[in-house]
Symmetry: C2
Subunit: 558 residues, 2 copies
């Protein structure tokens, strides 16, 4: 192993040990503070200028051979980024990666993990700057762009490195195999075991969480020895370009080929993901995005292991509550946060048509729906806070969908356009909340990505559970929220969660939203329903990324 | 958990702990002795009668609803078994398994592992009897049928249970997640984590190693909570029927539905594997057999995780040796054992056309090839030993292939029919060894299953390595044997092994054959080349068989 890489591993050994411990206990832990106050004041202050200095320029990275230039990102806050990027010539890039692979493989798990942890540490230090790029590509509000785009994304990257480390270090480098032969001398075999990467890894990123959804695949593949091509969404290239630059710097300093992490940007007009995904050298694919493309990858890129996170129908079931206000407030936040553009945002809220029990008496269906609409209205009354929470709508198609969906039910709360104090062109919309009947299944039972929610009148909680079982069984889901004051009903929700393989959040009415997912503790998606075939981050996410190749020869007893 | 299951877990806890340790060190270990002398004398003595008592009768198992009867096994030693089996009605079986799943899932990892270990312990005690059934379906000689069909198969089953145990027990059942909030009270979430099986598991077995290649998938799936359908090869049903009976007995005694392990026998005329494999309830498929069907499964059964072991081109490269005799003797055994019907038997033997260096001087290509032919002849000179080592040819197609291949090269050693002392109709054939040139690639570069070997004249060892790289890259391989006295060349073999992801056996000239693979130490196949997409047994073999479903709710600080 290179001396530099060994130093990196030694530097971060303590963090790795803590991460191993956190994953085993699944208790709260992170090495990357989520409070911006804990970052150097200067870095925070300078971040906007540093971001602006990147605009209207070429962003250079190490590229074996340049095919052309791309880049036409537009901030959802209403201005063109004007950044251009080199698009690598594909065959030259793949050839360069194949050439770089053996040295990266032979460096061993410690060297690779050391490099990965150093990349993450440097990304962490850059969080304020990365937050700017995440905000002005995804549209996330500044606080969320900082947390989800910075430390929380880095957490998920570290989690993936740690899982990979556990998987690799469970295989010894060597073994002496001594088989007794009765009175004769034993048979002795000396064995070596090598961690061998699958090949080239392709990460196809999304526009809403360009770092959070990309780091797990990037770091799981890189740590296990696979060169990684990052294929950003054409609308959110910059955060991954910045990530690639850091990765290339660390790789080069440690004596490796920087092209082991390479950016392959493209344009909406000339997408490259399909061709890349079918390249025989590509053996691993991580994808976040539409079900259509995710399923296409699963069925067509059969030369690769494909890890997908797709669309789903996140679901809430309300059976009964102590008090409706804290529940409505919690859900108002859930539905508003980043304008419903999270893969964890609930869309369908099942409520019995004859209402629910509370400790303050019975509430009719309309009272429950009304409380929810009112809570959203109140939560977003202050425009400055609303703009921060809502962020901007990433794509014009999502903004258009709000209007398209208005006719699908009775409007409980209309979505409205908001004006951002600093960015008058920002695409900011409050949630549209509709009332529908369970029989209007076409309306609510497919994903309507964006700030669009449905309060669905069901016959009973049993009916709500049955509907959820069917719809999630067909469409998948990443989150299931449920409310009940009855322990027996709570167990039925737990049973439902197992049946459709979705994470359950029960009776959230405080400082945690169903949308939130904490690395080292919460598994993000289960991989067991149509919304995702993988989980962030379990052993099944890392173990298929390498194979063990052994050799054996006769040996002598010591 | 049921009290019975807890008792089973407690009974086998020590074995499990030792297995965990063995997998971590990959040193020699087994709880199942491979010497028949270590089994009760009576069990060994009675085995043939017990086997005969099963013949010409119906073999009964627990079946929810019977669709019909099948069974027309013929011993490769030349007699009809005359055993019939119930074929379950498919939809009824799947419905029964779905109904049985929740209790098996909710019993938890300890209960399931306890049941699995008890099944294995009982199978171990029955090894002499199972050996009879394995021998008279696969054709394996009695010693091999005992070892590979009994203890070695059980080793692989235990290895799979142990890997599953490690994967499941790395996830805690509960966690308290306490997130500091500065001066405010911390956020507290109480979390539960459930191991949730994928669904119904289908194991499609082969005729040559009906237990050894079936137990890993069976036990990996069962331990992780999945009901398992065993679909035996129509020619080798009995060993899996016996296995199913034991599994059903243990399941029932422990309070579970016996149909959690069910046999789905079929006939060559009306095969059921394809339909079963596409059933939406089937979420896991383990397959051993032809590349054609394995690839069909990989491409078509996309609703399931598919683990395949297919055909490949096992390869030997001879660069140089100390002395040719012990090498030729070792290879003679390798090529003769079970008439080359092992998935690990070498087929192509690359030797430079200008010969090789030995410590006793240079040997020409023809001298090397001749030494090998002579060693096989000598090894099989004693007919009784020959019959024991060769076993019988499982299928008439394999026997016919020997004749079909005679014209593919120059005959170095002709295959001959042998007469078994007790079974005159037994299909016993010695190996055919052919000499070909590297340019005759069509002859040697596809799998010719059975006792057929090719000594291939190459330009040099570098050329041998290049050929192996290309052919294994295209066709895959499970084993690579190589001989050299030069450390630098040895490192090139090691590099080749990593490039094509195949296990390397270097300079075997003693009591170990390239064919042999020891559980807890040797990984059987890597999953990284076309011969197999999975390895027996690594974490990638078990982790995709379950998902983790969590729930979380607000909690209080203790």
């Amino acid at each position: 192993m290179s001396q530099q890489a060994q130093q990196l591993f030694d530097r971060h050994r303590g963090t790795l040990a803590q991460a191993v411990e956190a994953i085993a206990t699944r208790e709260f832990w992170t090495p990357y503070p989520e409070s911006i106050k804990q970052y150097p004041e200067e870095a925070v202050k300078e971040a906007p200028q540093r971001f602006e200095a990147l605009l209207k320029r070429h962003f250079s990275l190490k590229v074996p051979s340049v095919a052309g230039q791309v880049g036409s990102e537009v901030s959802p806050y209403g201005f063109e980024l004007g950044v251009t990027y080199d698009q690598p010539e594909r065959d030259a890039l793949i050839a360069a990666m194949r050439a770089a692979l053996p040295a990266w493989r032979d460096a061993g798990a410690e060297a690779r993990v050391g490099v990965c942890l150093e990349i993450l540490a440097r990304l962490n230090a850059m969080s304020p700057e990365i937050a700017q790029a995440v905000s002005h590509t995804s549209g996330q509000g500044p606080l969320m762009a900082f947390q989800a785009g910075g430390p929380h994304a880095q957490d998920r990257g570290l989690e993936a490195v740690t899982c990979a480390w556990q998987a690799m270090s469970s295989v010894p480098a060597t073994a002496s195999w001594v088989k007794p032969q009765g009175k004769r001398d034993p048979l002795v075999m000396e064995k070596r075991f090598h961690i061998v990467p699958r090949g080239i890894s392709l990460v196809v990123a999304c526009s809403t969480f360009p770092t959070w959804n990309t780091y797990p695949g990037l770091f799981a593949s890189l740590a296990t020895g696979n060169p990684v091509i990052l294929k950003p969404h054409p609308g959110a290239i910059l955060p991954l370009a910045m990530t690639t630059r850091v990765a290339q710097e660390v790789l080069e300093e440690a004596g490796f080929d920087p092209c082991l992490v390479s950016l392959m940007p493209d344009s909406a007009e000339e997408p490259v993901a399909k061709e890349l995904a079918l390249d025989p050298a590509v053996k691993l694919i991580d994808f976040t995005g539409s079900s259509a493309f995710g399923e296409w990858l699963e069925h067509n890129a059969t030369q690769a292991r494909v890890f997908t996170e797709k669309a789903g129908l996140n679901t809430l079931i309300i059976d009964s509550v102590e008090r409706i206000e804290p529940v409505a407030q919690n859900l108002a936040f859930s539905l508003s946060l980043y304008s419903g553009q999270m893969c964890t945002t609930p869309q369908a809220i099942y409520v019995p048509r004859d209402g629910i029990q509370t400790s303050e008496g019975r509430l009719s269906f309309d009272e429950v729906a009304g409380a929810l609409a009112k809570a959203i209205e109140a939560f977003l009354a202050d425009n400055e806070r609303a703009c921060t929470v809502l962020g901007a709508i990433q794509s014009p198609a999502t903004a258009a969908r709000i209007e398209e969906c208005r006719g699908l039910g009775e409007v409980l709360l209309d979505g409205e356009r908001r004006q951002h104090a600093r960015y008058p062109e920002a695409r900011i919309h409050t949630p549209l909340l509709l009332k529908v009947d369970a029989s209007q299944r076409d309306a609510f039972s497919e994903e309507r990505f964006g700030p669009i929610g449905f309060v669905v009148a069901t016959d009973s909680t049993a009916h709500s559970i049955e509907l959820a079982r069917e719809v999630i069984g067909e469409q998948g889901a990443i989150t299931l929220g449920a409310y009940t004051t009855d322990d027996e009903v709570a167990e039925r929700f737990e049973e439902l969660a197992m049946e459709v393989a979705v994470a359950l959040s029960l009776n959230l009415d405080g400082g945690i939203l169903v949308n939130q997912s904490a690395a080292f503790s919460d598994f993000h998606a289960t991989g067991g329903n149509p919304a995702a075939n993988a989980s962030l981050c379990d052993q099944a996410f890392v173990t298929p990324r390498f194979v063990v190749v052994q050799s054996r020869r006769h040996g002598q007893l010591d």
